[in-house]
Subunit: 411 residues, 2 copies
Amino acid sequence: MPVLVMKFGGTSVATLDRIARAAKRVGREVANGYDVIVIVSAMAGKTNELVSWVEETSPLFDAREYDAVVSSGEQITAGLMALTLQEMDVPARSWAGWQVPLKTTSAHSSARIEEIPTDNIMAKFGEGMKVAVVAGFQGISPEGRITTLGRGGSDTTAVAFAAAFEADRCDIYTDVDGVYTTDPRISTKARKLDRIAFEEMLELASLGAKVLQTRSVELAMRYNVRLRVLSSFEDNNENAGTLVCAEEDIMESKVVSGVAYSRDEAKVTLISVADRPGIAAAIFGPLAEAGVNVDMIVQNISEDGRTDMTFSCPVDQVARADDAMEKAKARGEINYHDLVADKDVCKVSVVGIGMRSHAGVASQMFTALKNEGINIKVITTSEIKISVLIDRKYMELAVQALHDAFGLETA
Amino acid sequence: MPVLVMKFGGTSVATLDRIARAAKRVGREVANGYDVIVIVSAMAGKTNELVSWVEETSPLFDAREYDAVVSSGEQITAGLMALTLQEMDVPARSWAGWQVPLKTTSAHSSARIEEIPTDNIMAKFGEGMKVAVVAGFQGISPEGRITTLGRGGSDTTAVAFAAAFEADRCDIYTDVDGVYTTDPRISTKARKLDRIAFEEMLELASLGAKVLQTRSVELAMRYNVRLRVLSSFEDNNENAGTLVCAEEDIMESKVVSGVAYSRDEAKVTLISVADRPGIAAAIFGPLAEAGVNVDMIVQNISEDGRTDMTFSCPVDQVARADDAMEKAKARGEINYHDLVADKDVCKVSVVGIGMRSHAGVASQMFTALKNEGINIKVITTSEIKISVLIDRKYMELAVQALHDAFGLETA
């Protein structure tokens, strides 16, 4: 029998009614001839409650105990889902991570998956079991203790199972019905994509699209798992949702697939830095140590041996950046005239694998922004992405203008 | 190091504050020089919530999935307790049942303990760990699935650990401060017992005293585990609570140790039953099958080949008993003139190992009841117990009269 992996997130299993609805979807895939592996998250709110108990008990908690406590949420959902399927006369049973066993590193609360033996579950499929319900987000360390994979770990669990069992597909059921050309709350013209390439999804995920965890997309790309994102709350046909797949599986040839944004950015400039070899390391080393997530970096032309160094970071990290720079200056590691922070900026990006083979995307983007009178403050590019920092007040306007300029409204 | 087992019930770990209070007690025993094994229940209300989810999902649930879901409650408390102890700088870690592993039969939701290997935890004690926090109520089956021991299973877990680790004592922390001569709500003269024999505790537990599970007392008696019941909510000195121990450890020589009662009993009489060999089996077989918990049984003198058969059962099972008897009659298995149920009775018992060597306890009991004008409807006796059924309205009066008659107010 072909194997299908189906993953249900916290909102999709938040109540017994929703678990029942999810179970019906599973039942339909069994009827379609699949042996199904279901990965479940904890019921919505459950993990937060457990985490808050742990943090209240012990602010600097032992991550091993954190994992023992927090992993219980998925264990509960797995048992309830198996019972629901049994009530529907679908042969099913639950597995906790340690029962599979899903073997991980010992890096508690952010463990990495090392191995998923398939024999145990495959033997049960051989005996007529149709659905293996597996508690997501968790595994077992070499020391025999429960580990968790970190937030979003259930997506990663699902993709890892799909890879290990060579599943036909990994369906991620969530509270949105797919991946959009841009945020539908910003542009009413946003269109759901039928397919998107792994690389594009990775860029979008790291740019703030919350549909899939970056890590699960990376894993899917590495093992070429066909990943589908679709809604738990709508009736889906065979082509529902968005398929995240290899580039070669995408026939259509749009140059740009989507427009992403990140609202709360800041642009920080160190004025008149001595331009010498090693100056970048002297600046960004202390920033990284201080936990500042530096995103874009631009170094201006040097003049008289001095330059301006500009970077962007989340707006709530500016104070921390300022402090780190002051201290580095005090230690004599760097020297600058002034630190200027513009806290009213945002980042807007266009993403598309088509850019690789199409020239002129950047100029098309800059023209569209110019036509709206939007000034660009910083630009960075990658092979399949162009990002700009602009004034925050123009964010919606920029997203809509770019969505129009690249014709994303129509397929 | 000597080992001590401490068990905290659901109300003793109901909130993070209460877990902290319990942890302080554990810390004191560590300071006293013990290696401590702490057995925890689920936070009060947690198990009921999980059970209700299972029952709502699947009324005739798969007990294996029930166990997977319900066992999570203790797992959470164990992790939180370990974290709390660590915050107090007491080296501690948690164990789920399967991690010990506490090996049980495969009888899911009512599994019996088969083996508790001590090497794993003892090795950690050897490495300087001071407290092993173990999730109560659960174990692992030969098939590698989570089992639970049934309600009250945490007491049984605690006693089993005390036996396996040859603990000095097994302290059961609960919401009462010990075992009383009778229910303090019924008699203000009720006195806390410093010591009680296993056999007496067993009788009291089966008579409805809710302090300890019958099963845990049986296990303690078999392995001669010194079991202490004490309050989580009071400051305890060394002699706090009640020690449940072997008869030979009790110096005092009261004939009667306690007066117990059971309020909602019914007396059921089958009038004019044909008195023939096998008639008792023909009556009580169908009752057992119907799930009627028959307690006392009295058969009156036979006259003309017919007799009256009287038994007691919980008042809410009378309809079921009636139904079972009607059906047996319809099948021709038994024959009786009428079924008469007295639903307004209660059971009052006196218990004491001293009865074995003292004659006259029964007549002393009957005299005390007669002096209050209380009519006795049914009598049964065991080696260390005498029980009577009386009208429910006399229950408090009877308990108080017997408490006085046997001088239980003073030690």
